[in-house]
Symmetry: D2
């Protein structure tokens, strides 16, 4: 089934529920000799954490990672790197009203349909808290990529109907962490904050779009025909909670373009080094990286928990009303930035290793 | 690596180049006892074939499938179902001018970067002819799904800047094969044909969008956390040549919606049967089907081969001019309809089998 | 790579080194609704633990398991079941003399050859302590099998040159835990103990053979052609430290038998129920279980750590003498009984789930 | 399920029944640039073919391989290498008496138990003819290994109760193909032939043992903990029809050895090159190759088809008598030599590629 494992050679297997003892995962297939910088892994986890600013979420949690295996004298040994983050004590009485209710557009009904019952406390395995393990695993992938000169950077390009003015390059993202919504366009950033404040007052939520740029990927990564690089990236990010769309390069703009406009013309410099004049392809052609920057976008829907009472049904098939209760995040898209980066890093690290077998 | 294998339990492995002796594949994991209707498989292949109308492609090829194993007295035996389609004789002299040239936005450069050399005749493995094996494998998946009351239907919703007026339901697609561009909106269909004729004269190409509807999927399919149903669908269709974007449900429209508007309210009828009033989720919640129709869209870029000369480079790193030559398809999106359906059918068939292990 | 994952649908991924913070694993693919009896898991771990009797090993360790996820209100939820056992504080100064030495017939040299360096404390990942995770995962598999009426039982059939007199049936193994060497033949058991005491005085070690019997397996488990049931069992147990041989049914006795003697004749009773008169096949024909008891044997070599000084080499390629030092187990085969059972249980549980897709 | 796929990176997927149109397979993951010597592949197939001498089997079949994809200008392109062998016309009336009968110790009953029905002609997928695809795939693996200086050689060491006098080295196997039973001990070879002639007259069959030697494997191949090299070799050969036992190094001799005798003492020469004085480990320690020759043995049972009438049952659960009929092979072990080599080559090729990711 492998439903909780991601990757072919560089593999992440994750576990954990919102209100169980711990969440974590295992990286299997990390080459030996990589320096495992645990402070960096913790830094990445902190980027994902709720409560970083008032923009995202009011809860205060400190998620401290512990490495359980696979590292000796600071370096990966080639054996599985297991890690965990303990959950703090949660009082489960908060969730008793959800024991039987199916919250609209949550996973309650579908989990019950599939498994016959569910851990209803905080969403259980379907909680976005699960992505913590992705960020930790992705941080190890980033360490691997850094050794090959590859950088993965994402930012918020839209929240609700507010869009960043243009596409930003990796070089321009140095200050993106200073924006409370992780948008490099400071004007748009301010409007996004305003929108979030407005929706907070209304008890409503909104979605957004994240743009991800991967620089330094050598030509040659990606495995035709099914494991094309864009296909694996699509799966990676579409497996994140609330992701609803993926596009590479020109994406949904491409269908209305002409071939003569969309084609990326190759040119060679005096040394015979080959590049493209444009990058409509988003760095991938025929499913394989061409050495240009990889660029993709991910659409996220508004989260389903709103501070408004809603009609719904329960396990018994009765129509009920779900009261507004508990915490309320207006927009989690800024916190999804490190998650998108993590999933992209896992894909590229995996393909970097897979590509070692491309030739004799 | 498994780059040419798709699926976990219901698995398709494909092979074949545009100008080699044959293309084909193996379905492993098909349950025993399924009636294998070879006429239906051939019908699906014929839908994919070029030359069905003047709209798509001028070549005339007849692709005849042969089943090599795994079927006895008309039924699957539980052993691998291999199939092949022989290529007709191609005169390879047509391709000598491509031996060294890197065509813009094709896979020539990236294949060379990865593998060190390539079969340059007709694109080799990167040719869209590869999708023939997907359609044949997908046809077997469709036969399996039909036994469970599941139907997969796709249609062209945009070509270039011409869009179908609205979203169509499965019931309305009965006549879609009558449209030369497989668009159920007859007015839009006419405009699409006009656009294609115009671009043919200009020697240019265009892309398009395909909408896919899957009816009859029971609640419960999909495996959290990485193998969410939309994640596997995204990978499936993003692995098709020229696919550039994927969206499920509201897709890229979702980010600017409010949670209160996007949430699909559950209701129960008198028998306690649960449905949703709306279907913004596109039939999937928490990565698992909820019993509503699954709906997704795929964006395709214009194909790269245009009837215009283009500057480019060659293997030696020299700037050259690629002459306009050979056949010229303006828009292959109508032919991609059975390919999208095939990939979707493979995903659903796989998850149908995987779901058999969900409970004790 | 998946080197630390075992299984296709019911999957165990393990982690942990002898002297790291913890060992453990993740079971992914366990169907929802299984009652997870943690006392039984702990009991199985206790069976594997060193120091159960003076026969096996003098160390006293208490390995306490903690379930981290995947269980709610006592039952599996269908999500990953993670577990861990914390290592007690070890003083690593014990191992400084092994930092550079390559102990004969240990994994020191080969780990260095593969990974470039190694965690030399207590064997690191190559320590038999790794099998703890197998026993815990196998215990969950046993719980699953019990629900289908399947029992996995193993016993020691040889230690050194002392053999049990005959093959025992599952029914006769009720008292096997009372034998300090887990041999149901009490006379042989006594001689085995004598042999171990003798070798202890000599500072030497010995191997042994374990016989495993699986009762209650329905006809139909096993997947031709590569995943034949005996092939998966062979891999499972040959991956245990110090395993050197595997045989199913008549095993190495079969080559010198005649076909007329080896064939298991089918008979049907009045109700048409089919059984075989003999079981030379060991319960598997054509790679698929036939409903008879599955029986296989595993040969284990003597462990490499002896209480005698030995010549060897070090990392620098110098010939050195390795002093006799530290603890000394004469024979670990009795402790391998629950490990063999665990690996067999994992295989059968996996095939039980895989078989759910055999037919329409 | 992947039941018909073998390998992680260098993968063989096979298809085909004894009496279907064709058998064959797909090698996926072969690095680009390998010279594909089709004459060598055909030579290997010829070694497996029945009718090479009167010793093995009286049928005359010529199995001609055709490569369908993945090779361009004589070299692998990095894309799937598909191959097939067409079956000659078989008149299926020969098999009508087997439509309902369950032959003793064949796969008839177990296939029916699993799949509900079966292709009863010539054993269908359970026929040893299936191994043809293994030999073809293994031949490609051998070509890959040869480039790394690795040689895989097997020979018959026992038939019935006749044993070769000693273990032979790879150097001594040059003339093994001259022995009609592929045994390098000419005296034993003669006795084996006598035994086979005797059993032919009696209408009976016998089994045998094959020894396999792999020379030139560098230290470092094998992936702890589950994919230990001996574990993958065990699975590989135990998946061959009629294999009943596997042992590496001292195998079933190891349990009665003392640790002091079994340990392989390391020595370093003046250049610091490390070898072992003995090779009781069979070239693998801790699951990883140590640079010494790998040596293992496989036990095969007598084949089940004898020229004697036998009692058995049919699908209806009735006791019947199966008449002696059709062809009769006394001993197929000599023909299994190239099959064992093929499976071993597939394992080593796979681990050679996997090991490329062992270090940064």
């Amino acid at each position: 089934m492998a439903a909780n494992t991601f990757g072919t050679l560089f593999r992440l297997t994750t576990f954990g529920e919102s209100h169980g003892p711990a969440l974590g995962g295992i990286i299997d297939g990390c080459p030996a000799g990589l320096i495992i910088d645990t402070e960096f892994i913790q830094y990445e986890l902190d980027r994902r954490r709720p409560g970083q600013s008032e923009m995202t979420t009011p809860r205060d949690e400190s998620d401290t990672i512990e490495i359980l295996s696979g590292v000796f004298e600071g370096r990966s040994t080639g054996t599985p790197i297991a890690f965990e983050v303990r959950n703090k004590d949660h009082h489960s009485f908060d969730y008793d009203h959800l024991r039987d209710a199916y919250r609209p557009s949550h996973a309650d009904y579908t989990y019950d349909s599939k498994f016959g019952f569910r851990d209803y406390r905080g969403g259980g395995r379907s909680s976005a808290r699960e992505t913590l393990s992705r960020v930790a695993g992705g941080a190890i992938a980033k360490l691997l990529l850094k050794e090959s000169g590859i950088q993965v950077n994402a930012y918020v390009s839209s929240i609700g109907e507010v869009d960043a003015e243009r596409v930003y390059t990796a070089d321009e993202l140095g200050q993106v962490e200073l924006s409370p919504v992780r948008c490099p366009d400071l004007k748009a950033s301010e409007k996004m904050v305003e929108l979030i404040n407005l929706l907070k007052a209304e008890g409503d939520t909104t979605g957004g779009v994240i743009t991800c740029i991967i620089e330094g990927v050598p030509a040659g990564l990606g495995e035709p025909v099914f494991d094309k690089l864009q296909a694996d990236l699509a799966k990676a990010v579409m497996s994140i909670n609330t992701a609803r769309g993926f596009e590479i390069g020109e994406g949904f703009n491409a269908p209305s373009m002409r071939g003569s406009a969309h084609n990326d013309i190759f040119t060679a410099d005096r040394q015979g080094k080959i590049t493209t004049e444009t990058n409509h392809s988003g760095g991938i052609q025929g499913g394989i990286s061409n050495g240009a920057g990889i660029i993709f976008r991910v659409a996220f829907k508004p989260i389903a928990t709103i501070k408004q009472s809603q009609p719904t049904v329960n396990r018994q098939g009765e129509n009920i009303v779900l009261p507004s209760k508990g915490r309320h995040d207006v927009c989690v898209v800024p916190r999804a930035v490190p998650i998108v980066e993590a999933m992209a890093a896992l894909v590229i690290a995996d393909h970097l290793l897979r590509n070692r077998s491309a030739r004799m």
